[in-house]
């Protein structure tokens, strides 16, 4: 990982650290549960887990303000939980039930929340990039001071529409933060085998868009970089690129045997760089929390996740009439 080191002594309170710990842990436990429900056949189709990448969304959400927008790809469960969407509604969408955010009609890859300004959940790699710039276009048009976080992966970064969007976003000074979640693998193809230069953030330079690499395994580093990007966008200076170097522990989707990398590589990352363990040890060594405090958080999260799984099982399948609704407004 060639990412920049985080700020040497971040000025962060114990409460903040605990909040990040709780939010990242919620995503991790939720995703583990989703994997389990997939294994039981309760979740169908494609299911892309976010395990390992938790610090990215939690750090950036900490840098956002109420009313800011976010949009991402099909690996979207973490983003929804981080922006405050209800775990019950997310899990019930995964199981295709009436109580899901899209009434069961969207699935793992297609969820939205107008209330939380979450604009999906898009299944075509990189389609969310111009869509995200379009959200920012609307904010600029309406002069409402909002910014949009547009997330995409290192794989999507090779799609042509990303550069069409960079050009227009820079030309029109759109308040959009392009967050490249570089987890190093585009499905099964490593970055080395697919991407001509190692630092994707430098590609913005051709359009005059500033960018930087960020240690995506450190929630504090992500938050700090996010605040800088937000300030840039909100002040009317146009787009900003954050290439967040992260890592996904699981396969691309549930049906990926992940033979393109070694077990040792994954294990090393989990043991040495895990974003949740990182905060956990900060809390303990800094004397901000005791083992018992953290156990209480673990228990609380487990209950939330178990409740979401229970809800997702008992929520009924959508009524057959739903087949024919929401086609036209």
């Amino acid at each position: 990982m060639a990412a920049k080191k985080s700020a040497s002594q971040p000025n962060v309170s114990a409460e903040e650290l605990k909040t990040y710990y709780r939010e990242m842990l919620l995503i991790r436990r939720f995703e583990e549960k989703a994997g389990q429900l997939y294994g039981m056949g309760l979740i169908g189709g494609f299911c892309h887990l976010y395990i390992g990448q938790e610090a990215v969304v939690v750090g950036l959400e900490a840098a956002s303000e109420e009313g800011d927008k976010r949009i991402t790809s099909y690996r979207d469960h973490g983003h929804m939980l981080a922006c405050g969407m209800d775990p019950n509604g997310v899990m019930a969408e995964l199981t295709g039930r009436e109580g899901g955010y899209s009434k069961g009609k969207g699935g793992s890859m297609h969820m939205f929340s107008k209330e939380k300004h979450f604009y999906g959940g898009h299944g075509i790699v990189a389609a969310q990039v111009p869509l995200g710039a379009g959200l920012a276009f609307a904010d600029k048009y309406l002069e409402n001071g909002r910014v949009t976080f547009t997330y995409f992966g290192d794989g999507a970064a090779n799609q042509g529409q990303v550069y069409e969007t960079f050009n227009m976003a820079a030309l029109w000074k759109l308040p959009v933060i392009f967050v490249i979640e570089n987890n190093q693998y585009a499905m099964g193809t490593s970055q080395v085998r697919s991407t001509s230069s190692p630092d994707i953030y430098t590609r913005g330079a051709a359009f005059g868009i500033p960018g930087e690499a960020v240690d995506g395994m450190s929630v504090l580093a992500v938050k700090e970089a996010g605040e800088k990007a937000v300030a840039h966008c909100r002040s009317g200076k146009g787009p900003y690129i954050l290439e967040v170097k992260t890592y996904r522990y699981r396969g691309h989707s549930m049906s990926d045997p992940a033979k393109y990398r070694t077990r040792e590589e994954v294990q090393k990352m989990r043991e040495e760089r895990d974003p949740i363990e990182n905060i956990r040890s900060m809390l303990l060594t800094g004397g901000h929390a005791t083992e018992d405090d953290l156990k209480a958080i673990d228990k609380e999260i487990k209950e939330v996740v178990n409740a979401s799984a229970e809800f997702a099982k008992v929520s009924p399948e959508p009524a057959l009439e739903e087949l024919w609704t929401d086609i036209y407004a």
Partner: protein, 453 residues
């Protein structure tokens, strides 16, 4: 508490698999995330990780066992010191609830002529002026932009150049660069940006210099704009218009001469409009801009300069899904839309001279389609010819033929015939191009076939 470990589904299609290898044995302590077994699915050999921490109490399915059904208990995990025997016998895999049958296809409507809305597009006595399709389109956009500040126009050369085909002439002067926006030549990108802005409450009009170039943007038109309302369970959609010239112009070759009517008409979530006259261009474009859904608005370069009657009204709109009967007749129904109407109406004139009375219907919108007006007419004339410029395979005419067969089979005195463009890429040579398109004479000849003259 003892927990059963169930045979996991590890791909979207997996129903059973081979428990290839156990990587743990009874009595081993495992942590969440440890690989405990290898399982062969229909696609690959997958590593199976433990979800919970604990001790492997009992292995229920030996390694090497094939055809293990998903959700069969394969092992029992216990807490340290607990016995696996406390666990009740492994339950059989739970059967998923039977899939509810899809609703039966609606029974064919009784073959009675449907009631048709025949109210005229504008009240009798309304002042009429002559206006070109080009001017009508511009007026429609200008009127809607005055009404609603969230409406904006985006596209190549729409602002300073005043429109590649001069449709947006004068709009930059009136509305300024914030709302009349020149884009780089980047259809995929700006179609996506416009769609995103529609999710967030704006009402974009996207002009494609021609619909041939919209092929670069078709993913956003279909996957992003048309499907989001459904995928979001009704929470958000894309109220917007994609418009521009469609179909053949003159001598511009294969890549610039294609009619996309049937392509877009296939997509649920889109509305598709293809006007012929200036009044329809105006009234339908105003309706399209106000519609809360993505609308494909297919214009025609050859029609831009043609003049038609347009009512002088403060707010003239034409509803979607209402065909217009241009000419009443009794011997045959000719159904067309867009520039096809040129051939249909010319043919009707020629046929009248031969004593054949043709009823000519302009569909005007292709999604929704006004089936009732077509069916009622066919029940009266008992014959039908469709006319369109697009390719013959899976054409709008093919679809209408099927609907007429379903709803008015007993009324037909001849097969429904489709006049379409030829099944070839558009050639450049003048004589070949003419031959590739439909002609009035072909329509006349086709009508004579179904009327047995």
């Amino acid at each position: 508490m003892a927990i059963e470990i169930l045979m996991p589904a590890l791909s979207p299609t997996m129903e059973e698999g081979k428990l290839a290898k156990w990587l743990v044995k009874e009595g081993d302590t495992v942590a969440s995330g440890d690989v405990i077994a290898e399982i062969e699915t229909d696609k690959a050999t997958m590593e199976f990780e433990a979800v919970d921490e604990g001790v492997v109490g009992k292995i229920l399915i030996a390694e090497g066992t094939e055809n293990v059904k998903v959700n069969t208990a394969i092992a029992i995990m216990v807490e340290d010191g607990e016995s696996a025997d406390a666990m009740p016998a492994a339950a059989a895999p739970t059967e998923s609830a039977p899939v509810t049958a899809a609703p039966a296809v609606v029974a064919a409507a009784a073959p009675v002529a449907p009631k048709v809305d025949t109210t005229p597009d504008w009240p009798e006595g309304t002042e009429i002026k002559q206006q070109t399709v080009r001017e009508a389109l511009r007026d429609a956009m200008a009127e809607e932009m005055r009404r609603d500040s969230t409406v904006y126009l985006m596209g190549e050369e729409v602002a300073e150049y005043q429109g590649a085909y001069k449709i947006s002439q004068g709009l930059l002067d009136e509305f300024g660069a914030k709302r009349i926006i020149d884009t780089p030549i980047t259809e995929h990108g700006f179609a996506g940006i416009a769609t995103g802005s529609a999710f967030a409450g704006l009402r974009p009009i996207v002009e494609f210099m021609t619909f041939n170039f919209a092929m670069q943007a078709i993913d956003h038109i279909i996957n992003s704009a048309a499907k989001t309302l459904y995928m979001s369970g009704g929470q958000m959609g894309a109220p917007m218009v994609f418009r521009g010239p469609n179909g053949a112009a003159a001598r511009v070759g294969a890549q610039h001469s294609q009619d996309y009517a049937a392509w877009y008409a296939q997509i649920p979530g889109l509305k598709v409009v293809m006007p012929y006259s200036a009044s329809d261009a105006k009234g339908l474009l105003k309706t399209a801009i106000r519609d809360n859904n993505p609308v494909i608005f297919l214009e025609n370069e050859i029609l831009y300069g043609r003049s038609f009657d347009v009512p002088v009204m403060d707010d003239f709109t034409v509803p979607f899904g209402k065909a217009r009967i241009w000419r009443e007749g009794s011997d045959v129904t000719i159904v067309s839309f867009g520039i096809g109407m040129t051939y249909a109406l010319e043919a009707a004139d020629k046929l009248a001279a031969d004593g054949i009375s043709a009823e000519v219907i302009d569909l005007r919108t292709l999604r929704p389609i006004d089936y009732d007006t077509v069916i009622a007419s066919v029940m009266k004339t008992n014959r039908c010819v469709t006319v369109e410029e697009g390719f013959p395979v899976a054409s709008i005419g093919n679809h209408l033929s099927a609907v007429i067969m379903e709803r008015a089979f007993d009324y037909l005195d001849a097969p429904v015939l489709n006049c379409t463009g030829k099944d070839v890429p558009m050639p450049y040579a003048a004589n070949l191009e003419k031959h590739a398109l439909i002609t009035t004479d072909e329509v006349v000849a086709t009508v004579k076939k179904v009327t047995y003259r």
